[in-house]
Amino acid sequence: MIDYKKKLATLSLQTKSIFSGHPIAIAGLIGFVIFVLIALFAPWIAPQNPYDLMVLDIMDGLLPPLSKLGNGTTSWLGTDAVGRDILSAVMYGLRLSLFVAFVATTVGFLIGVFLGLLAAVKGGWVESVIMRAVDLKVSFPGILLALMMLAIFGTGVDKIIYALIIGVWASKARLTRSSALSEMQKEYIDAARISAIPNWRIMLKFLLPNSIAPVLVMVPMSLSGCIGAEATLSFLGVGVPITEPSLGLLIANGNDYLLSGKWWISLFPGVVLVSLVLCINVVADRIREHNNPFLKSMNMQ
């Protein structure tokens, strides 16, 4: 039996050992938590619901920061062409970007790990099919694949999530398989097999907990990758709906106005996007560094 309390305690201890003495990583973590909190509570703290067309007015369009809107409220960061308050739009955009990235990473991770384990345990043609599919996926630029999918199936939050999942699962599957294969050499697996324990139990009970660590390290990287990919696709106009802009689409909207000096439409979403990805990457780097036995041994020396 796995002792979950003990696991949790180990986890918090691990977290401490990862971050203690690394102020930049701690700052990144705090920044990330703040962004997540803003995203979670956007509907309560944003001055306007930027997705509700009822409250938008094109007569409020393209106002610079600190302008008064038609309804008497102040727009702190200005408005875009259709009268959307940039501050509110950034908060909601953050929510959408993080939601898309979280879902795509989680689902992609689950699919990847499952297929990786399956390949390792089953072997034979199952392994061949899965790993050739991985090779095929990895040999193809992810963003191109996503662009093609969205051009064929149309746009929308659900479709962009599918497109991103396809980008995420393959590398996870490959890593899980190789990590699981090295576990398979060990005696406890042989013992389990001899005891006629069914494959699915071996997979979930023994292989999964012991081979998942290196894959988990990839998760934060995937998350920031998905945020970037979603922003790219939305910037190119094949991502989220135009009435519900994510950070990437907000930047794209403002891009048209950069030459004419309306800088606030792109700048604020851009700063938030860069900060968010930076925070996650700093944390991800630290976790990777901590888990890399090679780097660790160098530190010990």
């Binding site: 509700d52 067309l53 009822m54 938008l56 007015d57 094109i58 007569m59 369009g61 062409a81 259709v82 009268g83 969205l150 051009a151 064929i152 199936f153 149309g154 746009t155 106009g237 094949v238 709906p241 135009i242 009435t243 048209d256 106005y257 030459l259 004419s260 000096g261 309306k262």
Partner: protein, 533 residues
């Protein structure tokens, strides 16, 4: 000292001469879309047609000026006689005669490399093209076909000397015509037969869309404004504008409205606008029992109720859209085609805006706020500021209590949905030299293949009076009467609102401020639009 001064003067003088010969007579233009071919019959795309119009001429121009025709008229119900201009020479020096018109008609129908040309519809109902004498030609049609002269605007005249005509040249609908050898596709694309009567002569063309043209000094009318025209195409509007600002181009087409804000206050650059023939409108499915993407609480299609359609139209502040989103570069619509186009009833009032009346009409129709939900579908990156206009319309509709979902999709996806008639309400734009009649004959009314009516009736709109007016229009050879029928149909359409007219788009060209540019309404870019001040 004297010596140096003399040298300086010489140098400056020489430099000025060089500047003069290089710049004063060369126009460098950047298109937004690359022309694909210099064969005038291979493509109907606007960019290709723009390039080819420099080289080739038709009998009548798109703005109804007589080019290679001097007069035309119907001698009986099925015979259109055209008198041709005398003394016109092709770029290679050959004389233009009636034989060239017959040859060009054949070439239009001829399948180059087995492939049907894009532009063959003009010749569809034509059974024969006959030379009465060297400068008179008669087109025979299978039945009444009064708009033939409009259709002939796409018949670019080529030199019959470029082919081996054989013993007898006789028009037929396959384009064989007894001609023993046509120039091959490769020969045509090499520029060897880019031999028209146009104001400019071919010098070079790359399939990337870059072309160099030189003035045709033997042109029959007023010669071209430029010794030399260099064309290139840059699809990204920002890069096009950057090229203009960097001095790479003198004239660019389709800058974005936002780019114009950047030009204001810069005295070295200027821009010109021209109301175009393109109308932006919404199509509503008013005929189906259930319209795709349109839902009402009672399960019916609310768009069947004229009051709902009126409310949808009245709720839109078109003037605000024109001022705030289009930067003034559009005209509020009064009907489904520009009121300033030939054949339109210019006295029709602008579409009204009255949100209170709209709410009242919805209430009268029995719909409370949030009883109706509409998916407003539209293509992205197709019309100027399209998606912003879509959002503005969604704002206006939601303010009268309609739940709107704006669905903006890439053109490829949108077009599939439209062909499958899966779009209950969508935004669209249409512009055509034939004007109001073209729009209204295809867009609404019962489908009539024989008269070519109602082919794109996505509204599923049927009205007997409308059909009667259009059926009368289709066979009316008297132009003034044809206009009247067409205007009557237009008034019925605006009364019944099978769609909602929004505004007429304006075309924009940005250029260096030493040019004067008078744009064209058909969204084409022609070198002689520009003159140097």
């Amino acid at each position: 000292m004297k010596h140096i001064n003399f040298k300086t003067i010489c140098f400056v003088g020489l430099f000025a001469c060089m500047m003069g010969s290089v710049y004063a007579d060369t126009l460098r233009m950047a298109y937004s879309v690359a022309p694909k071919t210099i064969d005038p019959y291979k493509s109907s795309a606007s960019a290709t047609a723009s390039l080819n119009e420099h080289l080739y001429e038709a009998l009548v121009s798109r703005t109804n000026e007589k080019l290679l025709a001097t007069s035309y008229g119907w001698t009986d119900d099925t015979t259109l006689v055209v008198n041709l201009r005398e003394g016109v020479k092709f770029h290679n020096g050959a004389d233009f005669t009636a034989e060239d018109v017959i040859y060009s008609s054949c070439r239009m129908m001829y399948r180059v490399g087995g492939k049907k040309n894009m532009l063959t519809s003009a010749m569809g109902p034509v059974t024969d093209v006959v030379a009465i004498d060297d400068y008179t030609v008669a087109f025979k049609t299978v039945g009444l076909y009064p708009i033939l002269i409009q259709k002939l605007k796409s018949l670019s005249i080529l030199d019959s000397g470029d082919a081996d005509l054989g013993p007898t040249l006789k028009f037929d609908n396959t384009g064989d015509c007894g001609i023993t050898r046509y120039p091959t596709k490769a020969e045509f694309e090499s520029g060897k037969y880019a031999n028209g009567t146009g104001k400019y002569k071919y010098e070079s063309f790359e399939n990337t869309g870059d072309a160099v043209l030189v003035r045709n000094d033997n042109y029959w009318g007023e010669p071209g404004n430029w010794d030399r025209v260099e064309m290139t195409s840059v699809s990204n509007s920002g890069a096009r504008m950057a090229g203009l600002l960097a001095g790479d181009y003198d004239l660019i087409e389709n800058p974005t409205g936002e780019d114009l804000l950047a030009l204001e206050g810069n005295s070295a650059y200027s821009y010109s606008t021209m109301p175009s023939w393109r109308t932006i409108f919404l199509i509503l499915d008013v005929g189906s029992d259930v319209a795709p993407g349109v839902r009402a609480t009672d399960g019916s299609n609310p768009l069947k109720d004229i009051r709902v359609r009126q409310a949808l139209s009245l709720s839109i502040d078109r003037q605000a859209i024109v001022d705030k989103l289009m930067g003034g570069n559009a005209t509020v619509a009064s009907q489904f085609a520009p009121s300033y186009q030939v054949g339109a009833d210019s006295s029709m009032p602008e579409m009204a805006y009255d949100a209170d009346k709209a709410r009242q009409l919805l209430a009268e129709a029995g719909y409370k706020p949030h009883h109706i939900s509409i998916d407003l579908r539209m293509p992205t990156a197709k019309y100027q500021n399209g998606t912003r206009v879509g959002q503005a319309i969604a704002q206006y509709w939601s303010r009268i209590g309609i739940n709107v979902t704006l669905v903006a999709e890439p053109w490829s996806v949108f077009r599939k949905g439209r062909s499958a008639r899966d779009l209950g309400v969508f935004m669209y734009g249409w512009g055509h030299p034939q004007g109001p009649s073209q729009m209204i004959s295809y867009a609404f009314g019962t489908r009539n293949k024989a008269l070519n009516l109602g082919g794109s009736n996505y509204s599923n709109y049927f009205d007997p009076d409308y059909d009667a007016a259009m059926a009368a229009w289709a066979v009316e050879t008297d132009e003034a009467k044809a206009f009247e029928y067409n205007q009557a149909a237009m008034r019925i359409a605006v009364r019944d609102l099978p769609g909602i007219p929004l505004y007429y788009q304006h075309s924009i060209w940005a250029h260096t401020s030493d040019l004067s540019v008078i744009g064209r309404p058909d969204e084409r870019t022609f070198a002689d639009m520009a003159t140097r001040n």
